[in-house]
């Protein structure tokens, strides 16, 4: 999720900030997307240690399977990350750097497994509740304490996953998300995000697996008090946009470690209110290292560098790039625990 202060607020005097008049108004929608269970499955796959000698028939190891494929997962994740530009402010990279602590409770129900001959259909219903806290205070920054931006996020989604025998996995679903300020307990933003996606994994060699993921969707949001301005050009739907994303990841198995470098590029097109005729290109490279401590408890280290370039001009003929171009860098670590039923 990206929060950003308004362009003008960057120039608000430090004194006004100090007296608590920070305006955490929202000028960006979310970066959330529907989960890709196939990618998760590929990443979470544990190498089977049971090496058996070949025979004509093959080794016959009995399994315990659920009859219908119904299952329920509950999880808790905690992540601490250093964010060099957490607000996605334009200009230099190092702005308002902060230590951000995210705690998330999530659940997911798999609503059966349906064999359709050349396809297997799996519906999922899931949700999460996430608390985001900006923990660091720095008197040298324009805003010494970003704690006013602490917020809680609720998400819920319905997802249909269609695995084809060719190896392509298609998904379609809708996600609802809602951000509430932890300080004022007011809803700042909510959106519906219907989207589709496709994933294909391919073996590069014995240790490397490549994963291509394509997705597209429409963010249909409702932002309160957009940009903190009373200007008539601001509307509740001005953050609505369509997006199309391509991501390529390589999964490298090194003993129990999963090392995943990724590159993604996303195109976003806005057409409402203040953002009329705005288009963004967001590029991102990331490196994740996952280590399963036990089957349901894992440790991860992650890093991400993202860069956004905006094009178009607002109604005052000012370039969007001066408002929305940014560079961001995050690095952090997390712990996750999952219980499956």
């Amino acid at each position: 999720m990206i929060y950003k202060f308004s362009y003008l607020s960057l120039f608000v005097s430090a004194s006004s900030l100090l007296v608590g008049q920070i305006n955490s108004n929202r000028i960006d929608s979310t970066d959330r997307s529907l989960p890709s269970p196939v990618e998760e499955s590929i990443k979470n796959k544990v190498n089977d240690s049971s090496n058996v000698i070949s025979s004509d028939t093959g080794a016959q190891r009995p399994l315990i399977l659920t009859k219908s494929g119904l299952s329920l997962d509950f999880g808790y994740n905690t992540r601490v990350s250093y964010k060099q530009n957490p607000l996605g402010a334009p200009g230099i990279l190092d702005q308002q750097a902060d230590l951000v602590w995210e705690n998330s409770f999530n659940s997911r129900a798999k609503l059966g497994v349906y064999d359709l001959d050349t396809f297997v259909l799996t519906p999922f219903l899931g949700g999460a509740w996430t608390m985001t806290d900006y923990t660091h205070q720095n008197a040298d920054e324009a805003i010494p304490d970003l704690g006013v931006l602490n917020h809680n996020t609720t998400t819920a989604y319905l997802l249909f996953l269609l695995q084809h025998q060719s190896g392509w996995a298609f998904r379609a679903g809708v996600m609802y998300s809602n951000d509430r300020s932890a300080e004022t307990d007011t809803e700042e933003y909510k959106e519906f995000y219907p989207s589709i996606g496709a994933t294909k994994a391919h073996t590069i060699n014995e240790y490397l697996l490549g994963v291509l993921d394509l997705s597209a969707g429409t963010h249909l949001g409702d932002v309160e008090d957009a940009d903190g301005s009373t200007s008539s050009s601001h509307t509740a739907d001005e953050l609505d946009h369509i997006d199309a994303t391509l991501r390529y990841s390589i999964i490298y198995n090194l003993d129990n470690f999963k090392i995943t470098p990724s590159y993604s590029v996303s195109y976003r097109k806005y057409d409402n209110g203040f953002n009329f005729d705005r288009s963004d290109v967001l590029q991102s490279i990331s490196l994740d290292v996952d280590y399963p401590i036990t089957e349901s408890f894992d440790l991860s280290i992650f890093s991400n560098y993202a860069r956004r370039t905006s094009s178009g001009t607002d109604e005052a003929q000012d370039s969007y790039s001066t408002l929305y171009d940014f560079k961001k860098f995050d690095i952090g670590a997390g712990l996750g625990i999952t219980a499956s039923f």
Binding site: D48, D56, L63, G69
Partner: protein, 243 residues
């Protein structure tokens, strides 16, 4: 309308007659593979067979310790493993005396499998491994497929990818069913891996593995062995059950 239906049925059954009446023949052979001509009375004289040998019902085929043979006629794959003895009564009817075989076809068929004691008929398509057991019956292991299997006393059962069924006795009936790790079989089965041409149903086997992964609750640290009698199935344990 009636004539059209009649013509359609006639065409279908004529095509089926020629297709299923096709005699299998050797399309791949490795190691020692011998045959005995059963039509010659009072004489047991094994002779080696090679690629293009027609596998008539009179030929009892026996593979050596490293011998394997494949027949691929009209898209119906038959593979015999090593130290296996059996004969083709037709391209859709196999008698397995001992050892193991693989059958694979993408189109619906009626396939008859029989061993010293047991007989079952499979209706449908799929990739199936048959292993003769000491008790005279056999293990029926579909890696993927659609259809059902029928025995005289046990009625019919729908087949499920990875679900092994034991066929026992005469008249035949079904023993216990076990869900088997298809991925492990895929990695360790020479009937799948030790032949030059890949099976045409490989993608469907992949989908069956995916379904198993979605339904997986746990794996037993055990391997299933031979069925030495109608009531005894060997299970080789190598640790605790993993939940």
């Amino acid at each position: 309308m009636f004539h059209t239906l009649l013509l359609y049925n006639a065409a279908f059954f004529t095509a089926a007659f020629f297709l299923y009446g096709e005699t299998p023949s050797v399309t791949f052979k490795v190691g020692i593979v011998d045959a005995v001509d059963l039509s010659i009375k009072d004489k047991f004289d094994p002779f080696p067979i090679d690629v293009n040998t027609t596998l008539t019902p009179d030929l009892l085929i026996a593979t050596g310790s490293n011998g394997r043979v494949e027949s691929n006629v009209n898209g119906i794959y038959w593979r015999l493993g090593c130290e296996t003895m059996g004969k083709w009564n037709s391209n859709t009817d196999f008698y397995l005396d001992s050892g193991s075989l693989l059958f694979c076809n993408s189109n619906d068929n009626h396939i008859k499998f029989s061993t010293r004691e047991s007989t079952a008929t499979f209706y449908g398509h799929g990739t199936i491994i048959i292993e003769a057991t000491k008790n005279g019956g056999f293990k029926f292991i579909p890696l993927e497929g659609k259809g059902y299997i029928e025995t005289q006393k046990g009625g019919s059962k729908k087949i499920v990818g990875g679900r092994m069924l034991l066929c026992l006795g005469n008249p035949s009936y079904f023993g216990d069913a076990y869900d088997i790790d298809i991925m492990l079989m895929l990695k360790s089965s020479r009937l799948i891996n030790s032949f030059p041409s890949p099976l045409p149903t490989f993608k469907k086997i992949g989908l069956a593995i995916y379904i198993q992964e979605l339904k997986l609750k746990g794996k037993y640290n055990a391997l299933i062995g031979d069925a030495t009698s109608e009531t005894n199935l060997q299970i080789w344990s190598f640790g605790e059950k993993v939940e």
